[in-house]
């Protein structure tokens, strides 16, 4: 029997030895993957022992997230407090024990807890750990303009909507406001109070970041893309002539202008954009067909998640949606190009995307990556990471961009967007009113850019969207855009 016993011993030792192998696997190779999982409550609690980095704005220097140390069971734990409350809740997000994390708190967690850092900070935190001192995280400095953010939130008030403003020359995000907002200080213990709000829309969803994850019917703001596609095709110029009967025939059915009582008759493309004439864009759409327009939209960033430092699932791509899913047509006839050309037909966009469109038009067609983080700084003040402007691509040619920019300037100086004029600045904009067919439930838009004069590049781009509105984009969204732009531009005597 001894031979069998020896063999059985090998089997028994191999079985128990396999445990060492698998323990090694989980504690070394797989450990990082486990730590990254969203439902890893142990890692989350462990990270509360880290003196988490602050989240700040640069000018004026203000704290968006700070720490509130508390003794729990003989250990110091660093709980989060958000001094700005509702003001920056969507971008900053929250970090709690019970409800996981969102926003920059989630996507930049590795920096904030110093678990991703350069070599010198890594040595620092290892030494701190040996000395029994808490590890200090890195601070995140955002690009937000807190004053303008405040103006945006005030202007939105109890309406549902969003304001996104960015510097098109660099992509730096100045305002990312979403209304209704929530107080991130309530998330840990009083989460039920968050949804207990009054807002003037059917589905308030305060946790939704409407700026980057809210999908809206673009309405006439999409005409900017149609106009750019028309010019890029070289089949149209700003002077191309059209006849406007007050409506356009799509598949034998009439699609009316916003105001059918007053057809424009003979009209050129430029004037059609200034006055937002649906029938003209409808005919351009039918002529260009869907995929040509969608390709131009893609050049502006449609059909991909806009790059921003927030978590991927807090950003959504713009484009055609079918049954809640992003949809790109196989064949041109799959999509009603005539109605898509003025922003109907299942087209859904985010305010962030439309701010990128307005910015690229005002900036000679150059599309920059939007960035909400300026830099990440170690506790000792060394810069761990500095965000540099990153050009995504030349979305459209410079002549095209400048021609569309001119149309948008005319729309503000004498067209639908006069409410957005700012003395001393050359503003170009486009209104939008997404009709849902129910009174008082329009989605209204205003997208705009501002430059010092007609020939200089835009220094600011903005998109404003409002839900459940009775008025037009020019009457409801344009004044908000003007107020927020003024708040940013008034500080820009000499950049």
């Amino acid at each position: 029997m001894n031979r069998q016993i020896v063999r059985l011993t090998y089997v028994a030792l191999a079985l128990v030895g396999a445990l060492v192998v698998m323990t090694t696997y989980w504690q070394t190779w797989a450990a990082a993957g486990l730590a990254d999982r969203q439902d890893n409550a142990i890692k989350r609690v462990a990270e509360f022992a880290v003196d988490r980095g602050l989240i700040l704005t640069a000018q004026p220097r203000a704290r968006l997230a700070r720490n509130r140390p508390r003794e729990v069971g003989g250990k110091t734990l660093y709980f989060r407090a958000y001094p700005q409350g509702k003001l920056t809740a969507h971008l900053v997000g929250y970090s709690t024990v019970g409800k996981s994390r969102t926003g920059l708190e989630r996507s930049l967690n590795d920096y904030l807890t110093a678990s991703r850092a350069n070599l010198s900070t890594l040595v620092d935190s290892a030494l701190d750990e040996l000395r029994g001192k808490p590890i200090k995280g890195n601070h995140v400095v955002t690009t937000l303009d807190l004053e303008a953010q405040r103006v945006a939130m005030q202007q939105l008030g109890d309406q549902c909507g969003a304001v996104v403003a960015l510097d098109p020359r660099t992509g730096k995000v100045r305002v990312l406001a979403s209304s209704p907002s929530f107080d991130p200080n309530l998330v840990e213990d009083r989460f039920d109070q968050i949804s207990n709000i009054t807002a003037r829309c059917r589905n308030p969803s305060p946790l939704l970041n409407r700026g980057s994850a809210g999908l809206f019917v673009p309405g006439s703001t999409f005409k900017v893309i149609t106009a750019a596609a028309a010019l890029e095709s070289r089949r149209f110029t700003p002077r191309s002539q059209f006849t406007d009967p007050g409506y356009c025939l799509v598949y034998g059915r009439r699609v009316n202008n916003f105001d059918t009582s007053r057809p424009f008759g003979r009209i050129d493309l430029e004037t059609a954009l200034v006055h937002s004439v649906n029938s003209v864009f409808c005919n351009i759409g039918k002529s260009l067909r869907a995929k040509r327009i969608l390709d131009t939209a893609r050049r502006f960033g449609f059909y991909e998640r806009p790059p921003l430092e927030t978590p991927a699932d807090e950003r959504r791509p713009s484009g055609l949606y079918d049954d809640g899913r992003l949809y790109y047509p196989e064949e041109n006839p799959d999509v009603d190009a005539g109605r898509m050309a003025f922003g109907q037909e299942r087209m859904l966009v985010t305010p962030l995307q439309m701010a990128m469109v307005a910015g690229a038009i005002g900036n000679g067609g150059r599309l920059f990556e939007p960035q909400a983080v300026a830099r990440i700084v170690s506790p000792r003040g060394d810069v761990v990471l500095r965000q540099r402007p990153r050009l995504i691509r030349q979305a459209v040619s410079r002549p095209t961009a400048d021609a569309v920019a001119r149309m948008m300037r005319l729309a503000v100086s004498r067209g639908t967007g006069t409410a957005a004029q700012i003395p001393g600045w050359s503003v170009g904009g486009k209104t939008g009113t997404g009709e849902t067919g129910v009174a008082g439930s329009n989605t209204t838009w205003f997208i705009a850019f501002a430059s010092r004069d007609e020939s200089s590049p835009a220094e600011l781009a903005i998109a404003v969207v409002l839900e459940n509105q009775a008025g037009t984009g020019g009457a409801t969204a344009a004044p908000i855009a003007r107020a927020v732009m003024q708040a940013i531009l008034s500080q820009r005597g000499n950049p």
Partner: protein
């Protein structure tokens, strides 16, 4: 140095380990060294020294390593149980009772443990009865869908732990008697094999417990192989077990669910949650325990968080890992002691297994060889099944980690197992001396 002197030195070292570990836990919690930790360390050593005296009297030639190894394992168990629940001193009580059981077995069987062989059928019947007891009406108890407990009002216990030992005693006697006949491999001699296979399947059906079926059938196959030397039997038995288990996998929801969790603990899309009937991510529902335990192990890393510094609770006191003191004691140890400590623990198990098998090799009669090999293999397989389940090598089942997990029956049963191994080695060594 004689075996007993080695044992004494080993026990003193185990006492030092226990005292230091307990002191570290209290230090981490209260930031000061409380004298009670040293008292506990002293009591621990005193208990094992008492056991040592009994071994010296009843089994003077027994292996000197086993008792210190068991002491180290109980030191791990006591420390972690105290760490996780300082108010529950029950584990210490169970170790006390376990050591008493060890001494009792040693005293009762001091002359010749081989009398057990003549009661082999009694042990066989006892094993089956004990295994089926939890599914009996009135006294059977179901915990989380698995019927493993018996509640007699005054005392609750898991009879499966004792059944394992009864089964080994029965098989050692039965196989010693029939090994030549069975080795010939005639069809009619496969009757008992099929009967035991059928019993294992019945246990799965009755108790929904894949773990103890795997354990007991594995012990049976191992002993059958040792007795007959026919690897074909093992292959046939394994095929039968896998076939039967695969069939039951499709037939029994509970077993099906365990295997599904094992294969894919994480999902990206919500799936059916068997606990609430809602659609949830599997890691938030059915595989919650397994996944949280893996996070605990992962958080330990190479060096661990340190005793008393591991994270098992949220700041508000809510438990992050369920069943930590029983099924998942290993993931608690792996977090606080890291890969270094967990590997050390597994190494102690490996040395215990190696010593046990050495006893089987040195034993002179078939019954003793089969008894020692069966007990030791069962010990190894049980360690593998529970820790392997925690580490996702095999589907997770709710059996205990010998000497370490919280639980009275398990502790007592493993001390009885230890007593039997000591008796076998005592006899073998005594005979080789003369």
């Amino acid at each position: 140095m004689t075996a007993r002197t080695r044992e004494l030195v080993g026990l003193v070292l185990a006492g030092l380990i226990a005292g230091t570990a307990l002191a570290t836990v209290t230090l981490a919690r209260d930031a000061e060294l409380s004298p009670s930790a040293l008292t506990y360390g002293g009591l621990f050593l005193a208990l094992y020294l008492a056991a040592h005296v009994v071994v010296r009297r009843t089994a003077p030639y027994a292996d000197g390593a086993l008792l210190p190894l068991a002491a180290v394992l109980t030191a791990f168990g006591l420390t972690m149980n105290y760490r996780l629940d300082p108010s529950g001193g029950r584990q210490a009580l169970w170790v006390l009772i376990g050591v008493a059981g060890l001494c009792a077995v040693l005293v009762v069987l001091r002359h010749d443990y081989r009398v057990l062989e003549s009661y082999r059928y009694l042990f066989g019947v006892a094993a089956v009865v004990l295994l089926l007891l939890p599914s009996a009406p009135v006294i059977g108890r179901s915990v989380e869908g698995v019927r493993l407990w018996v509640d007699l009002g005054v005392v609750q216990f898991q009879p499966g732990e004792l059944a394992k030992i009864c089964l080994v005693v029965f098989l050692a006697g039965y196989l010693r008697e029939k090994r030549e006949v069975i080795a010939q491999g005639r069809i009619k001699d496969f009757g008992p094999l099929l009967a035991i296979w059928g019993a294992a399947m019945l246990v799965i059906v009755q108790t929904n417990d894949l773990g103890s079926a795997l354990l007991n059938f594995g012990i049976f196959l191992a002993m059958l192989y040792v007795a007959t030397g026919r690897a074909l039997f093992v292959a046939a038995g394994l095929a039968l077990f896998v076939g039967g288990a695969t069939f039951l996998y499709t037939a029994i929801d509970r077993v099906n669910q365990r295997v599904t969790i094992w294969l894919a603990p994480w999902t990206d899309e919500p799936v059916y949650c068997s606990q609430t009937g809602e659609l949830l991510l599997r890691q938030d529902c059915d595989s919650y325990q397994l996944v949280k335990s893996l996070y605990s192990i992962g958080n330990g890393g190479f060096g661990g968080t340190g005793l008393g510094e591991g994270i098992f609770r949220a700041p508000d006191g809510a438990e992050l890992i369920p069943a930590l003191r029983t099924d998942f004691i290993y993931s608690a140890i792996a977090q606080e002691l890291g890969l270094v400590g967990a590997a050390a623990l597994v190494l102690v198990f490996m040395v215990f297994v190696a010593r046990g098998m050495r006893i089987a090799l040195h034993a002179q009669d078939g019954f003793s060889k089969l008894l020692a090999a069966g007990l030791t293999f069962g010990f190894a397989l049980q360690t593998f099944v529970i820790v392997g389940g925690v580490l996702r090598i095999v589907p997770l089942t709710g059996i205990t980690l010998p000497f370490v997990s919280y639980g009275g029956t398990s502790i007592v049963a493993n001390f009885v197992l230890l007593a039997l191994l000591l008796l076998v080695s005592n006899r073998a060594n005594a005979l080789s001396r003369t």
